[in-house]
Symmetry: C2
Subunit: 417 residues, 2 copies
């Protein structure tokens, strides 16, 4: 009997009607002969609501108590999905992340999965139950004795699903969401964006890193490392969606697979830093310790013994980054710290892109033809990112989509795989 | 260092402001030198909201999943109270009922506490923490291995608090609520009702049974059996409230201590039952199995070989009672089952009341003088209950309050104890 792991996101479980719909999907898969482990997020905006409640109490909640608060959203949705399955005559039990054997380190709010003990899930499947697992969470050990519940960070239910699929050697791992799959660009920015039937892990990682918010980055990494093929599909249609998998034929195809756009960006500049070794460490270690992602770092050549260092942080983290860096800037003897919140990032992503210089030239040329100024550039093996003015973002994305012919269907060979 | 168990109800925790207020009360008690275990209910109407969510999914939720859903309300409030204490510099940890060692039987939705394993609480108190315990819940065993979370029924947080106070041999057990204490009658029905400084366990039990909803009946029983003195107090004032305790001076005082009024009543009559042994068992065992409380049973004398059996059930349970009884009524050969939802109960409560017949006479006489018809009567050692028309309830209660001079202050000796 094939074992299928499905994950349903918060918008797929936003109310009783949607929970019933999800239950019907799960029941249909079971009727087709599968054993199922179903990972669920919290209903709708439950998690945001709980965060707001905590914020009304304190600006600096204890991480342990915050995790104990937030795990309840998935406890609730998992119990409700189990009830909805019962109404369809499907035997089902809900389990917390801890009961499902998700063992994590002790980093509250952004715990990493250390291992998965599948004993309870295996037992429940053996008893004929569909197992509904509360996503986004685990525990450091047996919570009754001394362990603590932990959460895996925003979008952590994706990671729960992929970790369970890997450990249980599931035949399929399906991430159900409110979009049809992974597109060549965000359809809200580029209306002519096209659904990708297949995308490689590395390309997907770069798209996710650069703002495509369909899947959590860590879940893609975990799938890559464990060779778990992941289907990203819509809860509300029967479209097969996008398969994320090792992509051996990548050399045969158009190298640019998609665009990513990201408005959650702020540019921070530390002005006139005395130019000596260790600047990067002094600036970036405090940010890394605080879990703030730094991206696109540029250090200008210095003439007078000082240098300007610019980098980007998520716009939502700017206030926190400022608080952390302002004392450091003083200690370094730099003149000041400035920030620009009117920027955005646009990236082209495709395996092998850096070894084909023509792509960089075409990207820069396209933006120049549109009269769009590039403020900063960063690249990886599979990505080129330009930071531009946020007001130019949509125009830039549509021009790049056309320039790389992303609206054209893939060759038949790829679509049929 | 004295050990104090405090319990705060849902209305005391309805929003962030009230949670902060509760934290200040707890902090003040700690500053006065006490160790504290704080039992919390779910915030405001959280539990009702969760029940409604489940009802939107199914009319017949699986009891295990229902308990898993409902326990989350107290998980949330316990984490938020701990956060609020942290903002006051008070070290605090929240624990689930399971972690607090509340071990129950497996009756989901109305579990009984089997025992309390205080190891984790004792350890946390030893570490200097205020321990915030999610009330209303426990678990059948270690939930990680094989145990299941259970809930103790509506108002179960009172029972959690008294059970912990008993097991930990607490110096005080305080139930904080939105009223000042126990009154001689419901002040919404009888405006001249007076706060009782002290009430005996048995009297309190009868008041609670007969509609005074300040405390859960089981919590009072548990306090009585374990000789835990319980203070019922207001979260929003410094009034000492009412102490529930063994009351040795009861013979010295006015025997009627209070009135109870209850509108959550329906009268059920099974008409023309063939009169043979076993009628009561046939009717009442299915109701008991379903957890429906039956009260005030009257069986009319039969002349033609049949009899009418009348009894009361909570009005909120009438629909369920009907569904359970209608097939039984057919099998018994009774003519029909009728129900009257326009009734209410008024009770006088006082230790030794049944051994002083003058009280019954005065009660019936008072109602007669008011022209109020008594439909059914039931009595216990410490209580006389009359079922009357609901429309007469307020008039009856005020007349009885006057007739038994309940507005008069207690003798000094009682108030000073």
């Amino acid at each position: 009997m094939p074992l299928v792991v499905q994950k349903y996101g918060g918008s797929s479980l936003a109310d009783a009607d949607r929970i019933r719909h999800v239950a019907r999907r799960v029941a249909a898969e079971r009727d087709a002969g599968s054993s199922l482990v179903v990972v669920v997020s919290a209903m709708g905006d439950t998690t945001d609501h709980l965060i707001e409640l905590a914020r009304q109490i304190t600006r600096d909640p204890d991480p342990r108590e915050m995790d104990r608060l937030l795990v309840t959203g998935e406890y609730q949705s998992s119990a409700l999905v189990a009830m909805a399955l019962h109404t369809l005559g499907v035997p089902a039990v809900s389990l917390t992340g801890a009961q499902a054997g998700i063992r994590t380190d002790g980093s509250h709010g952004r715990a990493r999965i250390a291992n998965v003990d599948p004993a309870r899930i295996v037992r429940e499947i053996g008893a004929g139950n569909v197992v509904i697992v509360a996503g986004f969470q685990g525990s450091t050990a047996d919570t009754y004795a001394a362990g603590e519940v932990t959460t895996l960070g925003r979008g952590g239910s994706d990671t729960t699903a992929v970790a369970l699929a890997a450990r249980l050697r599931a035949d399929r791992c399906e991430i159900f969401t409110d979009v049809e799959g992974i597109f060549t660009a965000d359809p809200r920015v580029v209306p002519e964006a096209r659904l990708l039937p297949v995308i490689g892990y590395e390309e997907m990682l770069e798209l996710a890193h650069q703002g495509a918010q369909v899947m959590q980055v860590r879940a893609v990494e975990l799938g890559w490392v464990n060779d778990v093929e992941i289907a990203v599909r819509s809860t509300f249609s029967d479209h097969p969606g996008t398969r994320i998998k090792e992509d051996p034929d990548v050399e045969q195809r158009n190298k640019v697979r998609g665009l990513a756009t990201d408005r959650n960006v702020a540019k921070v500049t530390v002005v006139a830093v005395p130019d000596r070794p260790g600047i990067a460490r002094t600036l970036f270690v405090p940010l890394a310790d605080a879990g703030i992602n730094v991206d696109v770092i540029v250090q200008n050549v210095s003439h007078d013994g000082t240098t300007d260092v610019s980098f980007t942080v998520p716009r939502s983290e700017l206030a926190r980054a400022r608080r952390l860096l302002e004392p450091v800037v003083g200690e370094m003897g730099a003149r000041e710290l400035t920030a620009d919140e009117s920027v955005a990032k646009v990236s082209i992503v495709g395996a092998g892109i850096q070894n084909a210089p023509g792509y960089a030239a075409r990207m820069f040329g396209t933006l120049a033809d549109e009269g769009i100024n590039i403020e900063m550039i960063s690249t990886s093996e599979v990505r080129i990112t330009c930071m531009i003015n946020e007001a130019d973002l949509q125009r830039a994305a549509r021009a790049l989509h056309r320039a790389f012919q992303l609206e054209r269907p893939e060759p038949e060979v790829a679509a049929a795989r």
